[in-house]
Symmetry: C2
Subunit: 453 residues, 2 copies
């Protein structure tokens, strides 16, 4: 059937499969696509078609597609499904993904799915969802590969042999040995397993495991995995009992997601917006930040308002006001970006304020001199007034020094006061450089007035 | 000695250890610090002190510190060392890090280090450094865990047992079986090894390995690791011979680094700037983009210049010109950020231009209406002129629609034409929204002139 329709788009073919409820044809159609291509195709469909498709596909394939989506989008896709379909797909997700997706859902939808799940699994999800997202508890998965102190090497080998999935399913975790209280007291290396006798007790070859606590934050986890070559680590509750297993790749992924969402926050985008979200939600979230920005803009503009007399006398200045504030804003934002990166790499700490400021002042001086000279020449030639060029050039040079040196330290200052530098650095810097830029241009112009008119 | 100096800072203690060339005390001092803290302490030192410290520490510890640094900084630290020290530290780095760091160095310094290295290792580094950074070849490491088709399970187990480092040293790679021509023809799973007889031939339990080619790009590699649970994959040359091994975590790290450097590029920062770089280099790199920006600013400002007459008649408008352009610039940048993210997640493709445009126009309409009304009220109350409020409000509303809809598609358009959206989206969008904003405010004001003066 599908072969005869070469001229149809993938979307159209998907619609035919859905209309005929032909799961096999749908699978054949999606097979050559990567997961992200498949996800994109799904987003091209209407919401009810998306649900029909995810319900029609085998649950494990739908689960893979949903794992590919950012959590907010994943929750949206799952919420739109009927509870039994949703639960079947949910069962196939890793426990950490389950918890993340449940965390993004309405309580009602979440409860409907948890009610359809196996009781133990549902309890695991509830437990994982309760931890903060960027901690070991929020990033770990619940399934551990555990043994008792009385078990032998042979038992581990039999568990490996009997397991349907390969070892990699455990994402590199080792067999952990728990004491009677459920506390991890040993870990056996693969080399140990491979070279020991089958009859050997695990306690003979086990070593003390390195553990992390459920509330260890992401940065500390990154340090632990940097220092140690392990692919996974056992995570323990405050009482020392095993809570789950944290994989190196979960930490890598969380660091990536945090960096990407910092990028969105800088533009005032809260949460991780994707275009499939409802229009009103997207619009409202963006507006919150923009309306706060209006207030900052009014403050900056009031500087211009105070100098309307000067401006009226030399109207050409109005041409250069936005240029000076925009150019110094750009210079300042470069310094902000370098500081944000050095903060995230751990190359500077909030305490290094003065050192950063000193380094940036020098860059600001050089770049201010160059840019100021350039714009002075432009203003002089364009408007035929040397003094106008001097005023604009001097203002840009000074304002570049201000913007660059303040831009470098603003993220550190915000971090120091417990604010999120990604959210507030940009608006704060822009307001300062706008005000300073308008003030410098207009007050210098007022001083030089006799030569300007 | 150190115990008596509790009031000294870490930096001062480091200086004492360096002065006394006391390697042991230095190690004790640095031991409680994380790698990123250690790196930060090193950056607080003068360049010659940094070199002294890295030469004084055991080479494997210095190597760990250098691995923690971004490649450009790592190259800078290594270049400053005497060639024998540099080579000793270099020997301890993974082959993929060696290649990355060599790639950032001057040819002369690179050759000096390669000349001190073991010939085979140096050849590996040269080979790895020749591949593009964000391909399988550029991300793989050279050390593979390989066996011949005639080898037995017992031999693999003996290799495990004899190896000084644990299995994790191989970052999760499996034993690969090569044919006589050096082509990977099989891979054995750990489960296979654990459950087979020692005398079994590897060919009995091996399966066909999934391989990637040296020139596979990062996005495709991410897809492969998304689809398959492997921790590592063999990388092959065009002729099918084994070139190296690619680990999942190398791909994760590369994706993170790309996302972070896209963030810097948006502010016109080429390469990955860190503050320890020479002042002139940092200044010059930032200026290149800023001076191009001046030209765009002049184009936008020329719109104001064309309306100087209107502006002179209603000078209050000058107060709102930067507000309108700045506010719509912010709205547009939000749309740019969402598109950049959806592009990097693979949720949109450059072809989805029209769909994205339609989605953004709606957000632009709502937000334009809200922001336009807000600013209209502000202008009316502030300047006591209802018509002025109407002009400014209408201009902002229209310009928000323009900014948001263009902001959403600019990254897709740039990508489609082969440009890097991270570099050009911002300046392009700002120029368009500035021009449109100035034009809307001033032309509407010109129309409404009788009611404004």
């Amino acid at each position: 059937m599908i072969n005869e329709q070469d001229e149809l788009t993938v979307t159209e073919r998907i619609r035919i499969c859905l209309a005929e409820a032909d799961a096999k044809a749908l699978e054949v159609l999606l097979d050559p696509l990567t997961l992200s291509d498949t996800l994109r195709e799904i987003l091209l469909l209407a919401p009810e078609e998306r649900s029909a498709l995810l319900s029609l596909l085998p649950a494990d394939l739908s689960a893979e597609i949903i794992e590919e989506a950012p959590h907010e989008l994943a929750a949206e896709l799952v919420e739109a499904l009927a509870a039994p379909s949703a639960a079947a797909i949910f069962d196939e997700l890793d426990s950490d993904t389950q918890a993340d997706v449940i965390g993004e859902m309405d309580d009602e939808d979440a409860e409907a799915i948890l009610a359809e799940m196996d009781e133990d699994d549902a309890a695991d999800v509830r437990r994982l969802a309760a931890y903060d997202e960027d901690t070991a508890g929020g990033l770990m998965f619940a399934e551990a590969f555990t043994f008792a102190k009385t078990d032998t090497v042979g038992l581990v080998l039999r568990r490996f042999a009997s397991d349907d999935d390969d070892f990699e399913r455990y994402r590199g975790q080792h067999p952990y040995i728990l004491d009677e209280g459920g506390r991890p007291v040993g870990v056996v290396s693969l080399r140990g397993l491979l070279t020991a006798k089958r009859s050997a007790s695990l306690t003979d070859i086990m070593v003390q495991p390195l553990t992390v606590s459920v509330d260890t934050p992401l940065d500390a986890l990154r340090d632990v995995f940097d220092l140690h070559p392990f692919l996974g680590l056992p995570v323990v509750e405050a009482d020392g009992t095993l809570a789950g297993v944290l994989s190196r790749s979960a930490v890598d992924t969380a660091v990536l997601e945090r960096s990407e969402s910092a990028n969105l926050k800088m533009q005032g985008l809260v949460g991780d917006e994707v275009r499939s979200m409802p229009l009103w939600l997207r619009s409202r979230r963006r507006l919150a930040w923009l309306s706060a920005n209006i207030v900052l803009n009014i403050i900056a503009a009031s500087v211009i308002s105070a100098y309307e007399g000067t401006l009226a006398a030399v109207i050409a200045i109005a041409v250069f006001l936005p240029m000076v504030s925009d150019m110094s804003g750009c210079s300042g934002n470069q310094a902000v970006a370098v500081s944000m990166r050095e903060l995230s790499l751990g190359l500077v700490r909030p305490q290094d304020l003065f050192r950063v400021w000193r380094k940036e002042v020098l860059v600001g001086l050089i770049n201010g001199l160059v840019l100021g000279t350039l714009i002075a020449l432009v203003a002089w030639v364009w408007k035929g007034n040397f003094m106008l060029g001097a005023v604009i050039g001097t203002a840009l040079a000074l304002n570049t020094v201000i913007a660059v040196s303040i831009g470098g330290v603003v993220p550190l200052l915000l971090k120091r006061t417990g604010q999120d530098p990604a959210v507030a650095s940009g608006p704060l810097l822009t307001t300062i450089t706008d005000m300073a830029g308008f003030f410098l241009v207009l007050s210098l112009a007022a001083l030089a007035m006799p030569y300007l008119v």
